[in-house]
Every structure is written in C-alpha cells, then in structure tokens.
C-alpha cells in the first residue's frame, strides 16, 4: 500500500513539493478508493438490504400485528399475541408445536444417521481403488436432483399398492410375509419415509465435505500412530475423529438447520398429514399464509424458526471457538 505511493512521490521533481505532500497521496488514495469501493459494493448491498434485511425487519413487525392478506382493515398492533397463540394457546398452539416437534424428531434421526452414513461412505471412498470415482459419482448424483423431483420419484417407491417398489421389495425379501403397507398414509411411517428420501438426497453433499476433511489430515499422523502400534480402530479414534472434529461439527450443525427448514418433500408428498404427523414449521407458515392469508401469524412462525436456527449457529460458533483455544 505504502510502497507505490512512496514511489510515485519520489518520481516527482523538486524537494519542496515532496515535503509538502508527504502525507496527502495516501489520504487522497483512501478517499478515491472509498468512492470506487462503494460503487463496487453498492449493487450487492442494495440487494441484501432490500431483499434480505428489510424482509427480516418486516417479519418482526408483521409478527407483532394482525395482518390479513386482502383485508381492507389496517394492521393493528397485537404485541406478542401471535407468539402466544402459536406457542401457548390451547386452541391453536397444538398444530405448530407438533410441527416443531416433527422438525426436532426429523433432526434427531436424520442428523446422526446421515452423518454416520456420510462418514462411512467417505472412509470407503477415501481408498485408492480403481472404481472409486464411479462409486463417488453414484453417491453424489442425487445431490444435483431437485428435491421436488426426488419427492415425486419416491412417491412411486412408497406407493401403497402391493406393486409399489418398496412393498414388493420387502415382500420378496421376507418371502411374502410382509404385506403391502401405506408408507405415506400411515402416521407412524410417513415421517420416517420422508426422512429416508431426505437422507438419500443429502448424504452425498455431506460425504464430499467429510471427504475433504479426511484428505486434509496429514498422512504422517497415521504413520506415527501405526509406529506406536495403534490398530485400525485406535487410529480411527485417535487420528481420524480428532482430525475431523470441526468438519463433523459443521456437518451436524448444517444438517440440523436444514432439518428445521424442511418443506419441499412435505408439501409434495403428504401436505403435513396424515393427522399432522409430517407437518413442519415451514409447512405451517406457508399453509397459514394461504389458508386465510394470516400473514402476521405466519411471520411469527418464521421468526420462531429463525430464533432456533440462530441458537444453533451460536452454539456451533461456541464449540468451534473453544476448540481453537485448546489448540
């Protein structure tokens, strides 16, 4: 920064000029850069303010008001009434609380299962076998599939008829002992069914992140552990897991957050049913917006969703920072 400015002044002829201007070029440079920098940053900043920051402020404002779409009445201030209704009111709260519980259950199952599966796949894929790139392609391919399409294909797999793919597969595997089951129509199996297809679609993404983490662990650590007589399991425990610590925390947190944003699969496959067994916070927010146009209440729901995601993010940062202190 200083070097070019200094060079420039030195080429100028005449000592008095140099003395008088010794500090100005840098300041002028800063001023002129400020102009250019704002010009470069402004388009993106305007976009972020108008389409991200403003809606967020609006979400909080809406959640404190009674606002109905297409209603001629002006919004009236409700204080925290919307939050009370969706979280505590015996008449309305049941459904939204059920949605949050479903999000929690989804996270509680999908996060550990998907992470373990991704870790296992990454460990297999991190080996020098010739067919590995092909295998990796297969595992990663679902990631490029839009969730809407994944849901449609799996709707056929879960079909309740005896010639649904899953029903037929189970029937063949058990020699006809298992009879056809309505996977998406039974409250007990609808959410697990959605979990399964979500894992199928999402595991490749995680696997790639973990694979990158694995490859950043120095090979010398494994060599050293092997010299010390560590077995396979010990090397995994002492070298691999600690080396992947941050990656795994990241993956777990991101998957948890995604679990709370669950929407597409539910909208296409079950519309929250049967009997609210698959509804989610986001699905409730959208259906509240459409049925009755209750934007205020829907906004309150998304604010609750945001608070949960924010809490998880802060938790993640805490855990990661502590790790840095220890190192």
């Amino acid at each position: 920064m200083n070097a070019p400015a200094g060079l420039k002044t030195r080429t100028r002829p005449g000592p008095p000029l140099l003395a008088r201007r010794s500090s100005t070029p840098r300041r002028r440079r800063l001023r002129s850069e400020t102009g250019a920098a704002w010009t470069m940053a402004t388009p993106a900043l305007i976009g972020l303010i108008v389409f991200v920051a403003a809606p967020f402020v609006l979400a909080i404002w809406l959640s404190l008001h009674h606002v109905k779409l297409g209603s001629p009445r002006p919004p009236n201030f409700l204080e925290l009434e919307q939050y009370r209704r969706i979280l505590l009111d015996p008449q309305f709260a049941g459904q939204f609380r059920r949605a949050l519980i479903n999000n929690g259950v989804f996270a509680g199952v999908v996060v550990p299962v998907q992470t373990a599966l991704a870790l296992g796949l990454a460990l297999i894929l991190n080996r020098p076998l010739r067919a590995m790139p092909l295998f990796r392609t297969f595992v990663f391919m679902p990631v490029v599939f839009p969730m809407a399409l994944v849901a449609v294909v799996w709707r056929l797999i879960y079909d309740r008829a005896p010639d649904g793919v899953l029903n037929d597969l189970l029937s063949v595997l058990t020699f006809g002992h298992l009879t056809a089951h309505d996977w998406l129509g039974d409250p007990a199996t609808a959410l697990p069914a959605i979990m399964l297809l979500s894992i199928w679609q999402g595991v490749g993404f995680q696997m790639v992140i973990i694979l990158a983490g694995l490859q950043s662990i120095p090979a010398e650590l494994y060599e050293a552990a092997q010299m010390d007589g560590a077995g396979r399991w010990q090397r995994f425990r002492v070298v691999t897991l600690p080396g992947l610590r941050n990656t795994l925390i990241f993956v777990v947190m991101v998957t948890t957050m995604l679990s709370f944003r669950l929407f597409d699969q539910v909208y296409i496959l079950t519309q929250g049913g049967p009997g609210n067994s698959t509804t989610t916070a986001m699905y409730e927010a959208v259906s509240t917006t459409f049925d009755g146009g209750d934007v205020g209440r829907a906004a309150a729901m998304t604010v609750v969703l945001f608070v949960i995601v924010l809490a998880l993010t802060i938790l993640q940062r805490r855990v990661l920072r502590e790790d840095r202190v220890i190192q």
Binding site: A3, L30, T34, A36, W38, M40, A41, A44, L45, I46, G47, L48, V50, V52, A53, P55, F56, L58, L123, I124, N126, L129, T137, F138, V139, V143, V144, F145, P146, A148, L149, V150, V152, V153, L156, I157, D159, A161, D163, V165, D168, W200, V208, G213, S216, Y222, R232, T247, F250, V254, D264, Y267, I268, V286, A299, M301, T302, L305, F306, V309
Partner: protein, 322 residues
C-alpha cells in the same frame, strides 16, 4: 463393509507405493501380525484379494442402492404408463418406447396447462439471471471487502456476515407480503436472489488469499481499482467463480418454496413447481411424470458429469471454512 469402515490406513498405503496397494484391511492386518508372524506371501495374496473383492461387492451394492431410484425413473420414463408401477418389475426394461416423452409435450401445449418449453425457459432464465448477476455483483462486493480500503468497510462486512446466518425460510413470508404485487413474473423469481451474502463471503475469503504482489505491480503501472479487479483479480479467480456459480445454480435450479408462494400462472412456472403440479393432477400417468422428471434433470446431469470435479470441489468449499 463394516469391517473396513474404520480403516484410514490406506493413506499410508497409498503414499508408500503408487501401485494399487489393495485395501486398508490388508495394511492393518500386516501391521498387526508384526515381523515374526508374517505368514506366507501366498496367504497374503489371498487375503488381499478377498478384501479387495469385499470392497468391490460393498461398493457395487451401495452404488446400486444410490442409483436405484434414478434407474427406476429412467426405465419408468420409457415404459407404458400402466407398467411403471410394477414393483421390482419396474426395473425390468420391457416394452420400451419414447411415447411418454412425446406425450409430455402434447400434455403441456396450451396456455391453460402451460408449455413444457415454457417451464424450461422460466427455469433457465431465472437461474441464468441469478447465477450471472450474482457472479458479477457479489464478486465486486467481495473485491471491495477483501482488497480496498474504505470507510465503513469492516462494519459493513460484519453486517453481511450476519446475514449469512439468516435462512431464506425465515424471510419468505414477509418477502411474499412485500412483493405480492409482482406475483407471476420472471423478475420476482430471480431478482431477490442475485445479491447473496454467502457468495460475497466466499469471494472475499478467496480474494484475500490471492498474492498481493501482482495487484501492486498493476497499481504502480497506474491501474485503478476497477482495472485491477477486471484485469488481474478476475482472471486469477476462476475456482472461486466456478464454486459460486455451481452452488448458486444448484440452489436456484431446485428452488421450490418461493415459486410455491409466488407463482400460480403456468406461463411463468419453473420446472420443480411444474412437476409438483403435474404429479398431483389425476389421471396419474406415471410414465409421463417420469419422462418429465428425466427431461428436467437431464441437462443438469450432463453438466454435472462433465464438470464433476468442480461440483465436488464447490461442495467441499462450503464446509472447510464454515
């Protein structure tokens, strides 16, 4: 499969020799047996081959498991509607024809149903605007944050980072309320997503990691910030642009929640919403629906297979720095 799972020893194996050194199980086994119990080399060969076979069997089974739904979709798209849902028979390629594909085009050929080409055009235009526009303005902002000195920079950057945390779901409803007058347009599907805090973050961190010397040389030669950005930084930053492009593309091409809220007119319906509407309308012609699915994902798959390494790298990039 489980026997090999916890075995990272292959790294040592792979560094020790470039030839295919076999499985980690083998390496671990030799390590355990030590010098006095090395066993005959023939036994080792057998063991090694068995482990390798087990690896391949596990990989084939796993690969098939992952590929099955995709395979099912492709085969189903080529079958008569009544035979798609034939249990495991759905995987048997029989009575194949391209009839479903022509059916899909015929089924979506009026303004009431929307045109298939229209769905593609909408998705393509929206995604292009978001990806190209996003590359331009987010990289410009990233350069301003990474390399230039200006008043308010650090505070502004902190605010941008704070927005990364905000999921789109949390602002979807108010955004819908805000933009309700612009329903059913291409613009409303694209414009709100061009500026992206996460893309700015990725660009900023990448630009910060570039060597400063070349830029400084350009500055001495009298290049201003715009020239430095366009002539020096952009050409050096292909990986960052590829990463952001791929991530934006994947999110945008699959975007579903926002079209659900904003689009009811079939003439500006993007592909994911279109297949969702299609699969919900009786009569269910599964062959046609699967053909629609194949058409919808085929361009993405082609791009993915051609640039797979870049896709993988992009996804990996989201994790390491998180």
């Amino acid at each position: 499969m489980t026997a090999h799972r916890a075995s990272p020893a292959h790294r040592t194996a792979s560094t020790a020799s470039t030839a295919s050194t076999g499985s980690a199980a083998f390496t671990a086994a030799t390590a355990r047996s030590g010098f006095h119990r090395r066993g005959s080399s023939r036994r080792r060969m057998v063991r090694r081959r068995a482990a390798k076979t087990a690896d391949y069997v596990a990989m084939t089974l796993g690969g098939l498991l992952f590929a099955a739904p995709i395979l099912y979709m492709i085969i189903g798209s080529l079958k008569p509607d009544g035979e798609v849902l034939g249990g495991l028979g759905g995987f048997v390629p029989r009575n194949l024809s391209l009839g479903n594909y022509t059916d899909v085009f015929r089924r979506f050929d009026s303004d009431a149903t929307g045109h298939l080409t229209g769905f593609f055009a909408t998705s393509l235009i929206v995604t292009t605007i978001v990806v190209v526009g996003g590359l331009i303005i987010n990289s410009m902002a990233g350069y301003a944050f990474a390399r230039m000195r200006w008043r308010g920079r650090d505070l502004t950057y902190a605010a941008v980072l704070a927005l990364v945390v905000l999921p789109f779901e949390a602002i979807a409803v108010p955004l819908f309320y805000m933009l309700n007058d612009y329903r059913d347009t291409i613009g409303v599907q694209a414009v709100p997503f061009v500026a992206n805090a996460f893309s700015i973050y990725l660009f900023t961190t990448f630009f910060r990691g570039l060597p400063k010397e070349i830029e400084e040389a350009a500055r001495i030669d009298g290049a201003g910030p715009w020239r430095c950005y366009l002539r020096v930084v952009v050409p050096m930053s292909k990986p960052a642009f590829a990463t952001v492009a791929i991530l934006t593309f994947l999110t945008q091409w699959s975007s579903f929640l926002w079209p659900v809220l904003m689009v009811s007119d079939p003439s500006v319906r993007p592909l994911p919403l279109a297949i969702s509407v299609f699969q919900g309308q009786p009569p269910f012609q599964w062959g046609d629906i699967m053909a629609f699915g194949v058409l919808m994902v085929a361009p993405v798959l082609v791009v993915f297979l051609a640039f797979q390494r870049w896709f993988v790298r992009s996804v990996a990039a989201t994790g390491i720095k998180g």
